[in-house]
Symmetry: C2
Subunit: 187 residues, 2 copies
C-alpha cells in the first residue's frame, strides 16, 4: 500500500531529493509549499520544532518539516542555520572571499527533520556530513552551497553529482533514509 | 511625574543608549533582560512585531522592544537583521575582508521599535542613519558594528564617539526620541 506524506517546504530541490529517497520506502511525498515562519536560533532543532508547531496549524499529519545548516569551522560555524539568507545576500563568491588564506576548510552540513505523524505527536531526526569548502564554484547540479561543498571521501562537490549520487552521501539523503525507515513503522 | 517604562532587551549597551534619551523626556527606563525568541525575516518590522507579541506574554505594558539591522549595499543588504548573529560568528575583521576591493562602502543602520503602551495596543517606530563602512576597526566605545560604521557627515566611527554624541546622530538615538515624544502623550 502506498503511504502519502506531506513535506512542508517551498524549496523544490529539497523536495526532489527527499522524494527520491522516500520512494524507496514506498512512500509518496507531496510538496506543501506554504511558507512557514521560522525563529532565529543557533540551534537547528529549535528552529525545526517551532516550524513543526507552526506548520501543524495549517497542515494535516503525517507531514515533515526540515531545516539545514552549513557550519564552517574557521568562521565559527557561519553561516549556520542562516545558510539560506546568507546564500541569497552574500552568495557563494563572498563565502569563497571569506575563505581566502584559510587553510583549514573543514565544514559540516547538518539537516534536522521533524516528522509529525499524528496530531500533536512528532519525532526529530538529525543527520550530518563532514566535508570541505572548495577553492572555486564547481558543478551545475543541486542548489545552494552544493557547488562549494566537497563531502569527505569524494573529490567532487555536491553540484558535480547527480541527485542519486548526492543522496547517497548527503546530510539530507541520510536524514530521509532515517525518516523513511521510521515512517514505515508508524503509518 | 516620572513615568516608568520597561525595555525588553538583554543588551546593556542598547539599554544605556535608550535610557539616556528617554531621561530627557522624564521617562525612567527599566531593563527587562528576559530573552525573547525572534523569527527569521528579512523585514525588521515583522521581527519586532513578533517580538512584541512574545514579550507581551511575560511583561506588563508599557514596554518597548527593539531590533536593529545593518544593511551594506554592495553585499545585497548583508548582514541585515542577522547583524547580531553575524557579529558573533564572523566578527568585524571578516566584514572588512568581505569589503576588500569594494569602493562603494555605503551602508544603512536601521532600528525598529515597538511600544506596547496598553494591553494589546502597540505602535511601531522606525529610524535609520546612512553612512559608510570604515577601512579598519576604530574606537573603543559602543558595541557591535560601532567600530566600523561612520555616519554620514562625520569622520568618526560610532565607536569613536561618546554615548551622547552617538545618540545625537544614530539610528537608535533617533528612534528613542520618536518613542519618547510619543510616550509623553499616551502614558
Amino acid at each position: 500500500m502506498l503511504r502519502k506524506v506531506s513535506f512542508v517546504t517551498s524549496n523544490v530541490h529539497k523536495f526532489e531529493e527527499a522524494k527520491a529517497v522516500l520512494t524507496q520506502f514506498d512512500i509518496e511525498l507531496v510538496q506543501i509549499p506554504t511558507p512557514i515562519s521560522e525563529i532565529q536560533s543557533d540551534d537547528l532543532r529549535e528552529i525545526v520544532i517551532y516550524k513543526a508547531m507552526e506548520a501543524a496549524k495549517v497542515v494535516d499529519p503525517p507531514f515533515i518539516v526540515e531545516d539545514t545548516g552549513l557550519y564552517i569551522g574557521e568562521l565559527n560555524g557561519f553561516p549556520g542555520p542562516y545558510a539560506s539568507y546568507v546564500y541569497k545576500s552574500l552568495g557563494l563568491r563572498n563565502i569563497l572571499k571569506l575563505m581566502t588564506n584559510i587553510s583549514n576548510r573543514s565544514a559540516v552540513f547538518k539537516a534536522v527533520g521533524a516528522v509529525v505523524y499524528r496530531e500533536n505527536v512528532f519525532k526529530i531526526f538529525e543527520s550530518s556530513v563532514k566535508g570541505t569548502i572548495a577553492d572555486s564554484i564547481r558543478g551545475g547540479h543541486g542548489f545552494g552551497y552544493d557547488p562549494i561543498f566537497i563531502p569527505s571521501g569524494s573529490t567532487h562537490t555536491f553540484a558535480e553529482m547527480v541527485l542519486e549520487e548526492k543522496n547517497r552521501c548527503s546530510h539530507r539523503g541520510r536524514l530521509f533514509r532515517k525518516i523513511g525507515s521510521f515512517l514505515t513503522q508508524v503509518i
